[in-house]
Amino acid sequence: MRTEIPVAIAFVAGMLMVVSLFVPHPFIAEPAAVMRSWAIIITAFAYVLGVANIARISLHTVKKRTTDWQYKGALVVALVAMAGVGVSRGIQTGGLFDWAYLNMYVPMQATMFSLLAFFIASAAYRAFRARSVEATLLLVVAVVVMLGRVPVGEKLWPGLPAFTEWIMEVPNMAAKRGIMIGAALGAISTGLKMILGIERSYLGSD
């Protein structure tokens, strides 16, 4: 029963969602809408589990004083402080939570993301080599697109943006479309296997 009941629930829920896409009758649409509301609530609970899990792991690291425990400590302090401010004083615009978010979290995360530019430049210098025909092709196209995507490329050759768009609209799109169709077929196949109870790995090992 530990397997049969979840498989039956997955079958009913999955079939309802599939059928609701094609049958707009209230007999199908209404239970489907209720089920979507359940999905929203269940997904929201994932946040609670996520926060509880990260707090548990971080507190354990701090307690054991293992590698980089100070960072975990900072994480717990920040988590408690932001949650405390949000719960006690609200998250409204102009409030303390909003101020901390805009003036601390936003610049910190933007800084982390901006580091990518440095790593990409370093990686391009160290690893981007014309070692084979395929690598040379990739390298040439990357250089063309990189220049064609910025105004300076247009100054070098006015036809470069149009040529870049052609690369995006023809070879790139052909490859992307192939990948997307392949991925979609894979997703449909996996979905069907889960709905029909053939794929059961989501139930866990025991």
């Binding site: 995360q109 391009a124 300076v152 992307k176």
Partner: protein, 282 residues
């Protein structure tokens, strides 16, 4: 002769293994100096950007759009300029904006755009625009809004019930809006809006994505499921040029140009060194 060859090889090895701090310093200089100088560059407008502009420009005054702010602070430098330029165009056209987000960190970023743009255009919260905030649930939320807005978002970002917001009177779901504009940094984002809403509810969708996600969107532009697309900071800069409001997109173009040129120089130089090394090894 042998000594000279060894010296050359050692120089080439040094060049190929150059201290990464030198590369970082060069990139830093390329990124910051143009920003400090405040220079701007004009550019031609690409078809996907023009497509979005035309689609918004074709909307009638008083019509509604859903502005999905699906991004976080990490992608703010790239996507926020798009949001500013799009809101500028929407407000100028007197289009009513309903903003909502499927990314938890997004609502304050969207609110910051409204806070700056609304007074400039004399727009009022609840009358001309509204920020519904964040709702977890990804694709389920998209379909849920498409069928019943109030069940999905009973309140706005500040906790005001939707029924007390004047501009939402008569708006019951996404089928009452003319267009969905999504500024997205990944999942859930513009692709999911297309998959869940565009074809199912026959709603026009346009928007903007980070440069790295741009190539993935081209099949949707060609199929007509996406009316237009801003890709990366260049897309934002082109849109700023169309709405004649130079902002961070255009300002960032010189910095981005010089960084791209520097990366291209790195690639070419490193490959020259690589081939010389290979020849010496023979």
């Amino acid at each position: 002769m042998a000594e000279r060859k060894t010296e050359e090889r050692s120089l080439l090895t040094k060049l190929s293994q150059i201290d990464r701090r030198i590369l970082f310093l060069l990139i830093f200089a390329c990124a910051t100096i143009p920003l400090l100088l405040g220079a701007g560059l004009r550019m031609s407008v690409t078809a996907p950007v023009q497509g979005l502009y035309d689609a918004i420009d074709g909307l009638e005054a008083g019509s509604y759009v859903w502005l999905a702010a699906d991004y976080d602070p990490g992608s703010k430098p790239e996507l926020s300029p798009m949001n500013y330029a799009i809101v500028e165009h929407l407000f100028r056209k007197d289009i009513k904006v309903i903003s909502g987000s499927l990314w938890a960190p997004a609502p304050p970023l969207a609110q910051a755009v409204f806070d700056e743009m609304a007074p400039r255009h004399g727009k009022q919260y609840g009358v001309d625009y509204v920020n519904l905030g964040f709702k977890e649930g990804r694709e389920a939320v998209m379909v849920s809004i498409a069928e019943d807005l109030r069940r999905t978002f009973p309140e706005d970002h500040s906790g005001t019930p939707l029924d007390s917001i004047p501009m939402l009177e008569g708006i019951s779901n996404l089928q009452d809006v003319e267009m969905i504009i999504c500024v997205s940094a990944g999942y859930p984002g513009i692709k999911e809006w297309i998959q869940q809403i565009a074809t199912r509810y026959d709603t026009a969708i346009g928007g903007g994505v980070t440069a790295v996600s741009g190539p993935e969107m081209y099949p949707y532009i060609q199929s007509g499921q996406l009316v237009g697309l801003l890709s990366g900071m260049k897309g934002a800069a082109e849109y700023e040029q169309l709405v004649e409001r130079p902002g961070l997109g255009i300002a960032g173009m010189v910095a981005q140009s010089s960084v791209h040129v520097m990366v291209v120089i790195f690639i070419i130089f490193a490959n020259i060194v690589y081939f010389l090394e290979k020849r010496r090894a023979r």
